[in-house]
Structures are given as C-alpha cells and as structure tokens.
C-alpha cells in the first residue's frame, strides 16, 4: 500500500494551505485599497517587534492553546467539539466563583482552586452534549452549538441578576481580591525586566505549555489515550477490541471541555480580574482553526496558537496604525479553516496521487 511521505502530509500540505489562505487575505487587503506588504510589516512590528507586542501575542496564544487542545482531544475520538466557546464561558464562571468565594491567602492556592473550578465547569458544559451523543446519538456538533448560546444566556443571567455587585450598572462580577492576581511576565524573575507593567501575558502561559505536554502524554502515552485514538480511527475495530464507545466519547469530551474551561485562568483570572460578558471573545472558535492547522498534535497546536496569537495582536495593531479593521484577522482565520479543513482534498488528492504514481513507477522500474 503506497502512501505519501509523512512530511508531505503534516508539513507540505498544511503549509501550502496556509499559504493559499494568506495569499487570498493579501488579495483582500489589496481589494480594500491597502498595501499587503505594509500590512504584514505593521503586524510583525506590532506583535513581535517589542516585548510589549510579545506580551500580548503570548497572552492570546495562551487562550488559543487551551481551546486548540480542547478541539484536538475531542477530535482524536472523532468528535467535533464546536462548543469550546460555551465551555470556556462556563469555565470563566467557575474561575470567577472560586476567586470570589474566599479571601485566598496566596495566588498559587487560588490558582489551583480556580483551575479546578474552570475545568469542572467547562467539563460540565461538555458533559450533556457528550452524553446525548454517546447514549442517544444526538449530533454533537448541533448540540454543542446550542450549548454555546445557552451558555451565553446563562452567563448573562448570572452576571446581571446574581453576581453583579449592588449598585453597579455593569453586567460584571465584583473585582477579584488582589490576592488572586496572577503574576504577569513583568512580575517574574529573569524575564520580568524585559516586560512592562501592562503586559497581560501571565503565568497561565506556562500552564498552557504544560497542558500541551500533558495532552501529548495523555494521547500517546496512556491507556485512555490509546483507546481514544483507536476509537477515533476505527469504531468497528474498537468494538472488536472491547473498547466501549460510550466511555470513550464521554471521557474525550469531558477532557475537551475541561481544557476549554481552563482558558479562563488566563483571560479572567490573569488579566480581567473580574468576569465580564463575552470575555472569551471567540477564542473557542479559533481553537477549531488552531487544531486544524496543528493537525491535532499538541506541538502543532502550540505553533498554530502562536501564529494566531501573532495574528490577533498584529491585527489589533493594524487597526490602530492603518485603516484596516481588525476583522481582517477573522477573514484570515476563516480562510485557514476553509483551506486546511474543508478544502483539504483540493490539494491532497492531486498531491497524493502524484506520489502514488511516482512510487508505482519506481516499483516498475
């Protein structure tokens, strides 16, 4: 059975797809009468040209690592979790409740508790769609979309009617106690001197990196990960091996939801210091692009999250420095999803048949 070399599959094709997405984005920039080369310069300067830029790029990347991992883990069990947005929203609620519940003596203890809170709430929000998929065959894509909206409504209700401090008009929680503030890059030894006070990147970034390693270990080094991958590749073979579909779908989705929920330690606990409406800002959806781009491998997810962090920060700078709105990033994101996801066969089919033909020719020669 001839197959294309691995570097084609995980290297060349994704890069070509990315290239197409960027070329089309460049054309869009031209269409709106701006200079794409200039735009890229502004983005690189703004996102990578200074510690300030890096501070934001890594902050955004942290969000995307969590949501990208969430999509990737579910994907290994052949589940398309499109509900990262809602799970991260609920994760925010969990983190906020933990932070406000108790006058925490030290940020480290608060962080541990908040991680548990965020992960639990995120997992809970994935649990119902997962259960309905596993037991009743309800399409998980539709149910997770619905749960995104239900989650938004729930958060809205909690902020307006329950958690809003008396007298405040803002639909937001009270400020978290100072003792829960996480150390930012500025507060850290060694690197602190490079980063300014206002830099949002914080210790959550390192937790996100740790999560990459843990997910990698889970998927490729544990029994559960083995079963998840086996189920995701071949449901019939999994049944032969005695792997329970219900258990796998539940486990994968709970872990996925927990990862999405963990994002809240970065955006809620790390910088916002209070929970506001729409604190997730679409990061749950970007997770889809990140996972697709990263071929569902934690290392790939890490790289793709950095790329999108760069795009996000660069896009923000673009909006400040030029007349290009930051929505350009949404377009790039859409094109990345389109070409690396939905249009994958466009390049893959001809490239693969080229390699198969070449391999056959070699064999005959």
């Amino acid at each position: 059975m001839e197959k294309t070399p691995k570097w084609i599959d995980v290297g060349l094709i994704p890069l070509l797809n990315l290239l197409i997405a960027f070329v089309i984005s460049g054309i869009v920039v031209l269409l709106i009468g701006e200079n794409p080369v200039q735009a890229i310069k502004v983005m690189i300067d703004g996102a990578l040209g200074s510690p300030y830029g890096w501070g934001y790029t890594l902050f955004y990347a942290t969000n995307f690592i969590f949501t990208g991992l969430a999509v990737a883990v579910a994907y290994h069990a052949s589940q398309f979790n499109i509900g990262g947005e809602g799970q991260a929203t609920l994760g925010g609620l969990g983190v906020a409740l933990v932070c406000l519940a108790f006058p925490w003596p030290h940020w480290s203890i608060a962080l541990l508790a908040a991680m548990i809170g965020g992960a639990l709430f995120g997992a809970a929000w994935a649990a119902i769609p997962a259960y309905l998929q596993a037991k009743r065959g309800s399409h998980i894509v539709i149910t997770t979309i619905m749960f995104n909206f239900i989650g938004a409504s729930l958060l809205n209700y909690m902020l307006v009617n329950v958690l809003r401090p008396r007298g405040s008009m803002d639909p937001a929680t009270a400020r978290f106690p100072k003792s829960t503030y996480l150390p930012t890059f500025h507060d850290m030894p060694l690197i602190g001197q490079f980063f300014g006070k206002s830099v949002p990147a914080n210790i959550s970034f390192f937790i996100a990196v740790l999560a990459c390693f843990l997910v990698w270990g889970l998927i490729w080094r544990t029994r559960l990960g083995y079963a998840i991958r086996a189920f995701g590749r071949s449901e019939s073979a999994a049944r032969y091996a005695g792997i329970s579909p219900v258990k796998i779908v539940m486990a994968a989705m709970l872990i996925s939801g927990a990862l999405a929920g963990l994002m809240a330690i970065n955006n809620v606990m790390g910088t916002g210091h209070r929970l506001v409406l729409n604190s997730v800002e679409g990061a749950g959806f970007i997770g889809i692009a990140v996972a697709l781009m990263g071929r569902n491998h934690p290392f790939g997810v890490f790289l793709a999250a950095l790329l999108f962090g760069f795009l996000y920060q660069g896009g923000g700078e673009l909006a400040l420095e030029t007349t290009i709105p930051r929505e350009l990033i949404t377009v790039i994101q859409a094109l990345v999803i389109l070409f690396t996801g939905a249009f994958d066969n466009m390049l893959r089919a001809p490239i693969e048949s080229f390699f198969v033909a070449r391999a056959n020719a070699k064999k005959e020669a």
Binding site: I32, I150, S153, L154, L292, E327, G341, A349
Partner: protein, 321 residues
C-alpha cells in the same frame, strides 16, 4: 394584556420571525439534499451587508436585493465546492463560511463607507417600505377583524409576504414536483438517484443555489426591511436559531413556519417584557432568549419525538462498487 397589545406582539413576531423563516427554508433545501449547512448565519450576514451597501449607493432596495442574493450565493458556492466537489467536511466548511462573512463584511464596509463597519442609514426607496393592503385603512376601526387585518396582516414589506408565500411554494416544490422528489431522494439515499441515472452533483448544487437565494432574501430583509442599514454582526445568531427551527420542524416546510413564528414570538415577548412573572417563578429575559436552543437540544435528544435528519446528510457522496 388587552387585544391591541396581543396584536402588536403578534405583529412584532411576524417581523422578527420572517428572517428566521426565510433562513430556515433556505437550510431546508440544502439539508434535504444531504448538505448540512451551519453556515446560514454567514450567508445571511453577507446578504445583509451587500443588500444594504448596494441599496445605499444606488438608492434602490431592489438592486440591493439582487446584491444580497449575490452575496449569499458567493458563500453558497464556497460551501458547495467544499462539500460537493472536494468532498470535505460540511461542518468545518460551515464554520469557515460564518467567519468569512463575519470578517469580510466589516472589512468591506469599513473600506467602502468608513463608518466603523456599518453602512449609511437607508431611507426612502433604499428600504423595502411597508405595504398597506387594500382596504386596510377602511376597516381599521372594525373591532377584532379590522384590527387584525390592519395591524397584523397589512403593513409589512413585500419580503414578508414573499416569505409566507415561500412556505406553500416550498411544500409544493418538495412534494409535488419531479425536482422535489429527486431532491428528497438525494438527501436520503444518493445511490438511489445515481443508479436511476440522475446526477447527484447537479442536484446538490441546485439545492444549495436555492439555499443561496433564500438566505439572500433573509439577509436582505434584515438590513433593508427590519432595520435600515447594515451594522456588524447584525444577524446576532439568527442563522443558528433558523437551524434550530429547522430541526424543530423536522425538516418540513409547514412546521418550519410554526417553529420560526414561535421563535419570533419569543423574541417579541422578551423585547417587550424583560421579565415574566409567572407567580411561582420569575422567567428572566435570558431564559426566554435561550428557549429556542434548549428546545432544539430536547428535540435532538429524542425525548419528545425524534428529529431524524435526512439519512445521507453530512456525508460526501462517493460512488462505490
């Protein structure tokens, strides 16, 4: 609550339900042909922008309508290419379509009008104006029937009447024509169509083209009928509610009318009464807003009547054997 208030609420439900209805019927054609479409939101948004933009520039709502349909159609083509020609993942393609519309509309709006991602306010012929049905003024003082005729039935834009006419028309096309028979067949079992010597690919492209037209109408109504111009993200999840209504209606046109009007009514009620006190419980506005989604999950779970999607939905057709 007096009668006039009820009429007002229903009138509002019709207005708010119309874009849902058009989008729902749009989705119906696509999904009945076996192409899942979670990109209705994006198509509506694209249509909303292009209709408003062209209407603003030309001063003609009708030209706006054409542009709106064109905008939705371009995304339909993307989705069709991904799902039919390249046999890609229809859900991923739908997600991409939504983001594409979300970003692209603001980008172009800013470039064309420099008003922070919106179009200029539309007025006069650039909007679809309400139509007064014949004799509405004459009977408006007749109690009940006159009020219903004048306030509820009369006074909507042409697109509302088109939307309502689309319901029996869709039913008729689906269940009384050759095209409808083939369309339903290709969504249930494309092999049955293929072995009967009919092209699966052409059928499916035709179906998604109709989806493009109808979602174009839906978006155009949003921007030039319901509102007076485009603002960013103005669809605000209506594409997903339409999707929910489609599931709720079990992919049938007449129940689709019921579902979308119900969801329209829910929106009308929550706009008017932020909190509903039922004595025992106090229903907050957020709950009312979430009801369509909650209902859809309940339906999908099969607790009250199982919603079975077209059997071949979501799977690219690969000729086998």
């Amino acid at each position: 609550m007096d009668f006039a208030t009820i009429i007002e609420l229903l009138d509002s439900a019709v207005r708010l339900g119309t874009p849902l209805l058009l989008a729902c019927l749009a989705g119906l054609f696509s999904e009945r042909a076996g192409i899942f479409d979670i990109g209705l939101e994006g198509k509506m948004l694209m249509a909303a922008f292009f209709s408003a933009a062209v209407a603003a520039v030309t001063g003609s709502a009708w030209l706006g309508l054409l542009a709106g349909i064109g905008g939705a159609m371009s995304l339909t083509l993307v989705h069709g290419l991904a799902s039919i020609t390249f046999r890609g993942n229809q859900l991923i393609s739908g997600v991409a379509v939504n983001f594409l519309a979300s970003g692209f509309t603001v980008l172009i709006a800013q470039s064309w009008f420099q008003q922070g991602g919106r179009t200029p306010q539309l007025s006069g012929n650039a909007r679809f104006e309400p139509i007064t049905l014949p004799g509405a003024d004459a009977v408006k003082d007749v109690p009940v029937i006159g009020q219903i005729y004048d306030n509820l039935l009369s006074g909507h834009t042409i697109l509302v009447y088109v939307a309502f006419a689309m319901v029996p028309l869709t039913w008729w096309v689906l269940f009384r024509t050759r095209f409808g028979l083939r369309l339903r067949a290709v969504g249930e079992n494309p092999e049955s169509v293929d072995t009967a010597g009919v092209s699966v690919i052409r059928l499916r492209y035709t179906a998604v083209a109709i989806t493009g037209v109808l979602s174009g109408l839906a978006g155009t109504y949003l921007a030039t009928g319901l509102a007076a111009g485009f603002v960013k993200e103005m669809t605000a999840g209506r594409g997903y509610i339409a999707l929910a209504a489609l599931i709720f209606a079990k992919w049938r046109p007449v129940p689709a009318l019921g579902a979308t009007m119900l969801f329209g009514l829910l929106e009308a009620i929550s706009n008017r009464y932020p909190n509903i006190d039922l004595g025992v419980v106090n229903l907050p506005i957020q709950f009312m807003q979430a009801v369509p989604y909650i209902l859809t999950v309940v339906i999908l779970a099969g607790f009250i009547g199982k919603a079975i999607p077209p059997r071949a939905g979501g799977q690219p057709y690969v000729k086998e054997r």
